[in-house]
Subunit: 336 residues, 2 copies
């Protein structure tokens, strides 16, 4: 088969892809992409391997086919959060790296009060091949489905949304954290839960409850809520201390709230982890910076982004929708 | 005139706008918008005033006219920077607040290596009324002009781009900082300049040079460059100290580089500001957090965003393109 300037997508599908080059060269698609684009950020060795693989496979970057094919990543969250929260940098970075130059990525930040007629129009007009929907809290899923392209959610949706998602095992993460605390001899374990109207908040609390039920400890007085931010964690910790001064451990549903809890505990003269163990959630940058450094449940954000990208590409290529849940990891530092 | 469901934009122009309501009520358009949208984040008093103004003017929110009319704000910068740099939060916040509910705002983050066929297609398809272009460093201006809607740049463009811009007086800000240092008795004033391929880097250095020429101090050995980040500021400060151990002040072209300079100076045992005065640029959050707290040149980012929004709305309404330059402000804290 000879390739022409006007190759159809079907013809292109038969030719070696950037992913094939990456596999043969033993590097990531992003590295292949950097070599092709002439970036300086590639080692001599990787560059050689990629160039060899390109020669062997006869890979030709298909500008005609890839031109103008794009994925839209729609973030439905307030600007103040999106542009200062490291979460989005890691997630979007993961998506972009996994896409390499297979698809152009357009990130759209539309706020929480978006008029949901605007976004589908942009997507249709831009010819988006697929949509990743982040922090949507269910609102606009219906109107996006009308855009007529595959839509994939980041995180388990609440309600009856029939859209597939890639999420993180928040329930299992919380469970593992409580199990670890129990193994370290703690019994009176409290939690500072996140907003009860979001799946992450619900699932983390659920995991905590399940683990506490397993050791037969009743939780009245041991659960308080926060809005994921530091001040709310401090406030919630004070509440827990009022109700249960005998508390010997706390699991917070975000690292920011865990830092707030540290402050509240330190103010009462309690030693951490000696008197009270503290575990956070997310493994945000602050977890390693605060003293004592936070033990925390790590969400694999780059991997989540990469998996979202790969699942969406598979759906675009015709695979049926499915849900994917990624494992968390307990990062043991100094606070528990 | 009676208003119908299918009012044309021309008919709508004669009716009271949200801005009229805000002016009469003595509040911001964003506040009016919050009242109309039933947000809880409005004081009782403001709510009353807005409701009175709405009654008096007979304002009716024109959903038909506003539906689907949008402004696109296109950020051409790496994700890692966009999603962790407070600059974008403040700028986008300023734009969004100034637009109120006059126009839907769609923020598009496209990275620095965007395929510039994709973005204009999104804009055309989405029916954007106008485009704000941020951190573009000149690249895609040509293709955006083909989108056929008003385009406004954030910051003075380099080269011959014929697009109008709203910027900040970086030159005047640097000058004012050096003047202040001279008035405090400093003479051997160095600078850590930003990248020389960006207008902000060029203009700040230019302001520094002009102020030094005025006091007749030659600058050889007193100029070093950094990439705006902390590590580069530390590195550049060490270079300056090697060349001119008698240096008694330094102006850094970003707060991050100023913090790096503080570290380098403190490591040599120099007292700040007693031995060496340090002035930063931007008034980023870190300026108030670091010790000693940074004296810095404040860029009015929220105002810059608001002005971008208002100028673009004026252009959409038919006003000719013009350039606007906002003043900076010297914030005196402890480091100089």
């Amino acid at each position: 088969m000879t390739r022409t300037e006007t190759a159809t997508p079907a013809e292109v599908a038969g030719t070696p892809t950037l992913a094939d080059v990456a596999a043969l060269a033993g590097v990531s698609p992003a590295t292949v992409s950097r070599v092709i684009n002439g970036s300086a950020r590639v080692s001599q060795r990787a560059r050689k391997q990629v160039e060899l693989a390109i020669d062997r496979l006869g890979y030709v970057r298909n500008r005609v086919a890839s031109q103008g094919r794009s994925i839209a990543l729609v973030i439905c969250e307030d600007d103040g959060r999106v542009f200062t929260d490291d979460t989005y940098a890691r997630l979007v970075g993961g998506v972009r790296r996994a896409l390499g130059d297979e698809r152009e990525l357009v990130v759209m930040v539309v706020g929480r009060t978006a008029h949901w007629s605007t976004v589908p129009r942009y997507l249709r007009g831009g010819g988006a091949d697929g949509v990743l929907l982040i922090s949507a809290h269910d609102a606009p899923c219906g109107s996006l489905r009308q855009a007529g392209v595959p839509v994939l959610l980041c995180g388990r949706p609440l309600g009856l949304t029939p859209l597939p998602y890639v999420g993180v095992d928040d329930r299992g993460g919380a469970r593992a954290a409580v199990d670890y605390l129990v193994r370290s001899g703690r019994r009176t374990i409290g939690t500072i839960a996140g907003p009860p109207d979001r799946a992450t908040g619900i699932d983390r609390l659920d995991g905590y409850r399940a683990a506490m039920a397993e050791i037969g400890v009743a939780t009245p007085g041991l659960i308080a809520y926060g809005d994921l931010r530091q001040a709310s964690g401090e406030h919630a910790m004070n509440k827990l201390l009022d109700r249960r001064p005998d508390i010997d451990a706390v699991l917070a549903a975000s690292d920011q709230m865990a830092v707030g809890a540290l402050r509240a505990l330190q103010r009462t003269g309690r030693r951490i982890p000696h008197d009270v163990a503290v575990v956070g959630f997310d493994d945000a940058p602050i977890a390693g910076r605060v003293r004592p450094r936070l033990t925390t449940v790590r969400r694999p954000l780059e991997e989540l982004g990469a998996r979202l990208a790969r699942e969406l590409l598979a759906r675009i290529a015709g695979a049926p929708g499915r849900n994917v849940v990624l494992d968390t990891e307990l990062i043991i530092r100094d606070s528990a």
